[in-house]
Symmetry: C2
Subunit: 251 residues, 2 copies
DNA sequence: CGGACGCGTTCCACTCACCGGTACGCTGTC
DNA sequence: GACAGCGTACCGGTGAGTGGAACGCGTCCG
């Protein structure tokens, strides 16, 4: 799944061997996951430690703060994040539910920020994490406002059923997308995670056509009613959109 | 400043050539900053692009989202961030001023999170960024609650004068540290950035002795009075501390 | 207009950094 | 006490990586 015939490839493979849930991986586990010979892993991991991208502890390796620093400098995410934060903040304060900011990358959603309080719903999303587009509110609203080539690419691909509620019928999904395009809102009802509901609104580009990002509010079945927050989400998204439009340089 | 005699070293040097403020660097600029031959930079940068760590645009290279993803998986920062976020959120809501979460790394402060609203004070700090310890509230409070070896190492090193208000007299600084250790609070008054005031409190370890992190509230000279928020900051920090202590596995 | 720059790209022969099999020492565990 | 799994260390062969040189652009001069 990675190019392993170059040092760099091996190094990246090692780093990516850490899944979103992994904190500490012993050398042997890295060997297993990458398929690289033991000696090689040892050496390359040592190099990575030297460069502060990896940290070596008694019980294994972990991703080091050098990576965190570099990651936070990634250009697009950073500026978007900086401009968006106050709006997300406001939205959280108004709703006191989990707030997400996401962008499209290929045929997936990448979450740029996630903020929530003590009572936030348990959700699998993470800042920096990825999710499919067809079963999340942010994904749907981004897809609806994307170029038609992207839309058809996603609809053509396999639509994984993540829960019994996941919409897998292309026709129904397309209908929801059309509606999202009209209303500027997309919903998710336990389609990615049981017990979670979500509303999302697009952050539109200067031209008002394509979405550069999307904002959502998530809450648990029961106390949470998506419709109750749809206006707040839309307001936050459009406010962020026009602020971004006012920025020189863009992005 | 970096090991340049290995592919990995060159790659890391390229990535680190991007300063906190840089968004787009042309190849020639990378050549200048790294001192590497043009051909080499071209090739290595190409490799990095292939691995989604770098992005190539019309006008130069930028750090890509692959880095962002990896960075957000860095173990220590991530769990701390996840647990802390609700507390930072509360603190922001109570004060509506810029809130920071920072940890010590070597003799510097690394900001793990920064949240603020529309009216936040202009500060040079960034999530993932670094600052000296002796001229920031978070730095001081972390230093006060660190092993004495760290304290003396910092006090021995050169204390850069960043503003006319920066405390550079080791005696006075030490006095402030002692006071911080007693009261569990440290202050900064335009010592790192003109026009900015700050209060910080330590997030203490299980044993209550060493600080694993620190929380601060920052605001502009004029409307902002650090003392008015010191209790809120301390409350947030201790609440976070005891929550962390309750966690299995630690960190 | 021509020449001189700065930039990104491509090429290629040399060579040294990288490779990975092998072997060692240390822990537990049956 | 044999064994299995782990982390570490060694080392000769070799091809991935190297970087100097040359090319094709634009652009800014005189």
């Amino acid at each position: 799944m990675e190019e392993l015939d170059t040092v760099l490839g091996k190094a990246v493979a090692l780093l990516r061997a850490f899944g979103p849930e992994d904190r500490l991986l012993p050398l042997a586990e890295l060997v297993r996951r990458t398929g690289l010979p033991k000696g090689t892993v040892h050496r390359v991991a040592g190099d990575l430690v030297r460069h502060r991208l990896l940290e070596k502890t008694e019980h294994g390796y972990r991703l080091a703060s050098g990576l965190f620093e570099l990651g936070m400098r990634a250009a697009t995410e950073r500026t978007l994040l900086e401009v968006a934060m106050p709006f997300l903040q406001d939205l959280y304060e108004r709703t006191h539910e989990t707030v997400h900011l996401g962008v499209r990358e290929g045929t997936e959603v990448v979450y740029v920020a996630k903020i929530g309080g003590h009572r936030q719903a348990r959700s699998p999303s993470r800042a920096g994490g990825r999710m499919p587009m067809h079963c999340t509110a942010i994904g749907k609203v981004l897809l609806a406002h994307a170029e038609s080539s992207v839309r058809s690419a996603v609809l053509a691909g396999p639509l994984a059923r993540r829960t019994p509620h996941t919409v897998v019928a292309p026709g129904l999904l397309e209908q929801q997308l059309d509606r999202a395009l009209e209303t500027g809102l997309a919903f998710e009802r336990e389609e990615s995670t049981p017990g979670l509901l979500c509303v999302a609104a697009p952050v539109l580009d200067t031209d008002g056509a394509t979405a550069v990002a999307a904002i959502s509010v998530t809450g648990p079945v029961g106390r949470f009613r998506p419709e109750a927050h749809q206006n707040a989400v839309r307001a936050a998204a459009t406010a962020l959109g026009s602020t971004l439009a006012r920025r020189p340089g863009g992005l």
